[in-house]
C-alpha cells in the first residue's frame, strides 16, 4: 500500500515537472529567432514570401505567443501531441515509429555497460594493483573521456570499413529475405556497434564505482568474518560482497538513465539509427516545435519508467529496501 502511495506521489510530481518543462521549452522555442517556415523553405530550395506567409498562417505561427501556448497546452491536455510541421505527420505516429529503436538501443547499451562494468570492476577490485586493474582503469578512462561520436566513427572505420563485420548505418537491411530469425539476426548485427559506442561512456562510471564499492566491502568486518568462517574466496566475493556492492551501482545506473537517453541522440546520429535521437536532432535543426516537445515528453516517460525499474531491481537485490516506502 505504501509502495502504491509513493508511486502515486512520484507520478504526480512527474506530471507537474513535465508540464513545466513543456511550457518552458515551448517558450524557448518561441523566443529563438526564425521558425519552421524558414527550414521548410530551406528544404525546398527557397520559397516566395507569399508561400512563407501561407506556411506561417497554416500552422498558426502568425498568432501571438499566448494564443499559441494556450492551443498547445489545450492539445496536450487532450493527450494530443499535435501535427509535425516539418514531416507532415502526427507527432504521436512519428514518435511511436521511432520509439522501439531507441528503447532497444538504450536498454541494450545500459545492460551491456552494467554487466561488463561490474565484471571489470570486480576483477580489478580483487587485485587492486594488478595489471588487470590498471588495464581496466585505462579502458574506463578512455571510454569516458573520448567523445561518443568519435568512438562511433572509429568503430565504424575499424569494424565496417577495414574489417567489414558490421553494417555502417541503419537498423536493418531491407534486402534480406527470410523469416523472423533472419531479420532478428540482421537487427542484432546492426545493433552491435551503436550499443558498444553508447555503453562505452557509462562503462567507465559503472566499473569505477563497482571497483570502489567492492574494495570497501571486501575490507568490511562481515567479509572478514565470512573469510574467517572458512568460506571459499569465490563464495565470499560473489555471494556476500558483490550483492552489497551492487546496490550503489544500480542506483547510479538509474540516475544515469536520462544521460543514456541523451547520449543516444549522438550515437543514433552517427549510426543513422532510426530512433528518437535522430528524430530529435533533425527536429531541432528543423525547428519543428511540436515534434521536439513530443520527443521531450516521451523521453521523460522513458526516464521515469527507467527509474521505476531501477527501484524494483534494487528492492530485489536488497531486502532492506522492501519494507520502505521510497
Amino acid at each position: 500500500m505504501r509502495v502504491f502511495q509513493s508511486l502515486l506521489i512520484r507520478i504526480f510530481y512527474a506530471v507537474i515537472l513535465l508540464t513545466a518543462v513543456l511550457i518552458l521549452n515551448f517558450s524557448l522555442m518561441y523566443l529563438a529567432p526564425g521558425d519552421v517556415a524558414d527550414t521548410i523553405s530551406q528544404s525546398m530550395g527557397g520559397a516566395d514570401q507569399e508561400v512563407l506567409d501561407q506556411i506561417r498562417a497554416d500552422y498558426g505561427l502568425d498568432q501571438p505567443f499566448l494564443v499559441q501556448l494556450g492551443r498547445y497546452v489545450g492539445r496536450i491536455l487532450h493527450f494530443d501531441l499535435g501535427y509535425s510541421f516539418f514531416y507532415n505527420d502526427p507527432v504521436t505516429k512519428l514518435i511511436l515509429e521511432r520509439l522501439p529503436a531507441t528503447l532497444l538501443l538504450v536498454f541494450t547499451a545500459q545492460i551491456l555497460a552494467l554487466v561488463v562494468g561490474v565484471v571489470l570492476g570486480v576483477i580489478s577490485a580483487r587485485q587492486p594493483n594488478g595489471i588487470a586493474s590498471h588495464f581496466v582503469t585505462m579502458l574506463a578512462l578512455f571510454g569516458y573521456s573520448a567523445p561518443v561520436f568519435w568512438t562511433g566513427i572509429l568503430l565504424l572505420i575499424v569494424f565496417s570499413l577495414k574489417i567489414p563485420w558490421f553494417p555502417v548505418a541503419g537498423m536493418q537491411d531491407v534486402t534480406i529475405e527470410g523469416g523472423f530469425m533472419a531479420h532478428a539476426l540482421d537487427v542484432l548485427r546492426h545493433l552491435v556497434l551503436p550499443a558498444i559506442t553508447l555503453a562505452s561512456i557509462f562503462l567507465a562510471l559503472y566499473s569505477r564505482l563497482a571497483r570502489a564499492t567492492m574494495l570497501e566491502t571486501l575490507g568490511s568486518d562481515y567479509v572478514r568474518t565470512a573469510k574467517a568462517k572458512g568460506l571459499p574466496e569465490r563464495h565470499v566475493v560473489y555471494k556476500h560482497a558483490l550483492k552489497n556492492a551492487l546496490s550503489p551501482v544500480i542506483t547510479l545506473a538509474g540516475l544515469q538513465f536520462s544521460a543514456v537517453v541523451s547520449g543516444a541522440v549522438l550515437v543514433e546520429t552517427v549510426f543513422s539509427w532510426p530512433g528518437l535521437g535522430t528524430l530529435a536532432f533533425h527536429s531541432i535543426i528543423a525547428r519543428d516545435t511540436p515534434t521536439i516537445l513530443g520527443i521531450l515528453f516521451f523521453s521523460a516517460l522513458v526516464v521515469i519508467v527507467g527509474n521505476l525499474l531501477t527501484d524494483l531491481v534494487l528492492r530485489m537485490i536488497d531486502p532492506r529496501l522492501r519494507g520502505r516506502g521510497a
Partner: protein, 524 residues
C-alpha cells in the same frame, strides 16, 4: 562518359520507337539498386515541395510532361510531342496514349490541368506557372496551356522534379490548397512514373519497385530501388567505400569527394548538376554602411582570393563561377569583369571611397554564415579583409532559422550563401537581383540590390522566346552583376554523383537524380 550516355539515350529512344531493336550496350533487366538520401524527405509529392531530397523519389513516382538530356534539349516523356505557338501564348502538349497511374487508371489531359492548378496553389516557386492562365483539354490526350505572356521558362518547369503529374481522382478529393498536406503524399502515393512506392519509413528508407505498366515499353530496368536515409556524412562515406551503397548524388563535402575518388570501383563525377545550378557566393548588403559604395564591394572582391577558396578550402572540388548563372547553363557568360587578388588596387579603392586607415583599420563589418560547413569560408574572408584594413567580426547563428531570419530581414553586412538556379534563370536567378523582391525572406534579393536596367533586362528575358536574343539579354545582365557586385561569385557548390562500377547509365543529365532513372541498370 558524356558521349557514352548520349549514345545510350539516343539508342534507347530508338529502341522504344522500333520495338525489339537491339541496343548497342544492352542494359540488363532486374536487380535492386541501393542508393541514399542525405536527409529525410518532408514529402514524396513534388507538386507541393521542391528540393533535391524530395526530387529523387518524386521523379521516380510521378512522371512529368518533358525530360531533358545532358545538352539541355527537351525530350518527350508524358508529352510525345509539343508545340509552342508563334506568339508564345499557347503551349500544346500531345500526351502519350498509354500512360496509366499506379492504380491502373489512365492518365489524361484532365490530370495535367489539375496538376498545374495544384502546383500553382502549393509549389514554392510561384514564377514557374504564374503566366499560365488556363489549361484547356480539347480531348483526353491534348492539353493546351494558355499563357498571359510568353514564358520560355515553362519548358524547364515542365521537366524533372518541378512538375509532377498527379492523378486527379486521388488528390482532387479536397480543396486544392489541401494537397499540400494530403495523407497520400507520404504513403500510398499514386503517380505514373517508372517506380511505385512500397514503403516510406521516416528516418529509415524509401523503397520503390518497378511499375510493370509504365508507359515506356521495357522500362524501367531495375526491379527495385532502396533509398536509405543516412544524414551523417562520415557514415555515408564509409557506406560508399565498403560497397553498401551503389549510388548517391548531391555529395558536396570536399573531404568525402576526394577520399572516394581514390577508391577502386567507384566513379565520382561533378557532371549532371547544370539545371540544379548550385552556387556559393559572398553576399553583400548594398543598403548598409560602407557596402553601399560599389568601390568598397570591389575592394573586397580584390582582397578575397577565389583561387584559395577553390583550391584550399574546397580542396579542388569546386569549379569557378563568375555570375549568378551556373557555368554549366547555356546562358552562362564567363567574359565578365574578374577580380584577381590585388591588394594595392583594393586599398586605393577604399581610400578613394573615403575610408582611410585610422588607428590601424578603416571600418568594421560583420559576416554571417548559416551552417557549419561554410565556417572556413567566412573565417578566410575575415583574414583576407584584415589585410586591407577592414575589421570583420564573424557572427555565428545557432541554427538555420536564426540565420534565415537575419538574411530575410537584411540584418547583416556580409554573409556566405548558397543558392540554386533551379532550371531556368526565371525560377532561381531573377529572385536574387530584381528590385521588387528585396528582403522577402531568405534567398530573395537579400542584398537590397536595385538597378533599373537589370530589372528591365530580366523582365525582357522572362518573356523573350528567341533563344539567341534571350542569351544576349542574360549576357548583359551578367556583365552588370559582375561589375556592380551585389554578391561576389566565388565557386560552384561542388555537388558530385558517386556510383559503383556495377551501375550502368547513372543519371548524369542536367537534373542530377531529380529525374526518372528508368534507364539506369545494374550490371551482372
Amino acid at each position: 562518359m558524356k558521349h557514352l550516355v548520349k549514345g545510350m539515350i539516343v539508342s534507347t529512344v530508338l529502341a522504344t520507337i522500333v520495338a525489339g531493336h537491339a541496343v548497342a550496350d544492352d542494359p540488363v533487366r532486374g536487380g535492386t539498386l541501393i542508393t541514399v538520401l542525405g536527409s529525410n524527405p518532408r514529402t514524396l509529392n513534388g507538386a507541393v515541395q521542391s528540393g533535391i531530397v524530395t526530387g529523387y523519389p518524386t521523379a521516380q513516382l510521378f512522371a512529368s510532361p518533358l525530360r531533358y538530356d545532358e545538352d539541355w534539349t527537351p525530350q518527350p516523356y508524358l508529352a510525345e510531342s509539343w508545340d509552342v505557338s508563334d506568339d508564345g501564348l499557347t503551349v500544346t502538349l500531345n500526351l502519350v496514349k498509354n500512360a496509366v497511374f499506379h492504380d491502373g487508371q489512365p492518365l489524361t489531359s484532365a490530370d495535367i490541368a489539375f496538376s498545374v492548378e495544384v502546383i500553382k496553389a502549393n509549389h514554392p516557386f510561384k514564377t514557374m506557372f504564374a503566366p499560365v492562365e488556363t489549361v484547356e483539354t480539347p480531348d483526353e490526350h491534348t492539353a493546351v496551356l494558355k499563357l498571359s505572356r510568353p514564358h520560355p521558362a515553362l519548358m524547364l518547369a515542365m521537366s524533372g522534379q518541378l512538375m509532377s503529374i498527379l492523378p486527379r481522382h486521388i488528390y482532387g478529393d479536397g480543396p486544392i490548397e489541401a494537397v499540400k498536406t494530403h495523407p497520400r503524399n507520404n504513403e500510398n502515393v499514386v503517380g505514373s512514373g517508372p517506380f511505385k512506392l512500397v514503403e516510406f519509413k521516416n528516418g529509415e528508407h524509401v523503397i520503390l519497385e518497378r511499375f510493370d505498366d509504365f508507359f515506356i515499353e521495357g522500362r524501367p530496368y531495375l526491379d527495385k530501388i532502396v533509398m536509405r536515409i543516412i544524414p551523417d556524412i562520415a557514415a555515408r562515406t564509409i557506406a560508399y567505400e565498403n560497397g553498401e551503397l551503389h549510388m548517391g548524388a548531391f555529395e558536396s563535402n570536399p573531404q568525402m569527394v576526394n577520399r572516394l575518388k581514390k577508391v577502386d570501383g567507384l566513379v565520382v563525377t561533378p557532371e549532371g548538376y547544370g539545371a540544379i545550378g548550385p552556387l556559393d557566393w559572398l553576399a553583400m548588403n548594398t543598403q548598409r554602411g560602407p557596402l553601399k559604395d560599389v568601390r568598397v564591394r570591389k575592394a573586397i572582391a580584390y582582397a578575397v582570393d577565389k583561387n584559395f577558396i577553390q583550391k584550399a578550402l574546397m580542396q579542388g572540388t569546386a569549379a569557378d563561377s563568375r555570375t549568378g548563372i551556373h557555368p554549366d547553363s547555356p546562358f552562362y557568360f564567363s567574359e565578365v569583369e574578374i577580380y584577381d587578388v590585388d591588394l594595392e588596387k583594393a586599398n586605393s579603392l577604399l581610400d578613394e571611397a573615403g575610408y582611410p586607415v585610422q588607428d590601424g583599420k578603416r571600418f568594421d563589418l560583420t559576416i554571417d554564415f548559416g551552417w557549419p560547413g561554410v565556417k572556413p569560408q567566412v573565417e578566410y574572408v575575415r583574414a583576407a579583409l584584415k589585410k586591407i584594413g577592414i575589421a570583420v567580426e564573424v557572427r555565428a547563428s545557432a541554427d538555420f532559422p536564426t540565420w534565415a531570419k537575419r538574411m530575410g530581414e537584411m540584418d547583416f553586412d556580409m554573409s556566405w550563401d548558397t543558392v540554386f538556379n533551379w532550371g531556368d534563370p526565371v525560377i532561381g536567378v531573377h529572385r536574387t537581383y530584381v528590385s521588387d523582391n528585396v528582403g522577402k525572406g531568405v534567398w530573395s534579393n537579400t542584398q537590397g540590390y536595385a538597378n533599373s536596367r537589370v530589372d528591365e533586362i530580366l523582365a525582357m528575358a522572362a518573356v523573350e522566346s528567341d533563344a539567341e536574343k534571350r542569351k544576349a539579354l542574360y549576357k548583359e545582365f551578367q556583365t552588370i552583376i559582375a561589375d556592380e557586385l551585389p554578391v561576389y561569385h566565388t565557386n560552384t557548390l561542388p555537388y558530385h554523383t558517386i556510383y559503383s562500377g556495377k551501375v550502368g547509365n547513372p543519371p548524369l543529365g542536367i537534373w542530377g537524380t531529380s529525374t526518372p532513372i528508368d534507364m539506369t541498370y545494374l550490371k551482372d
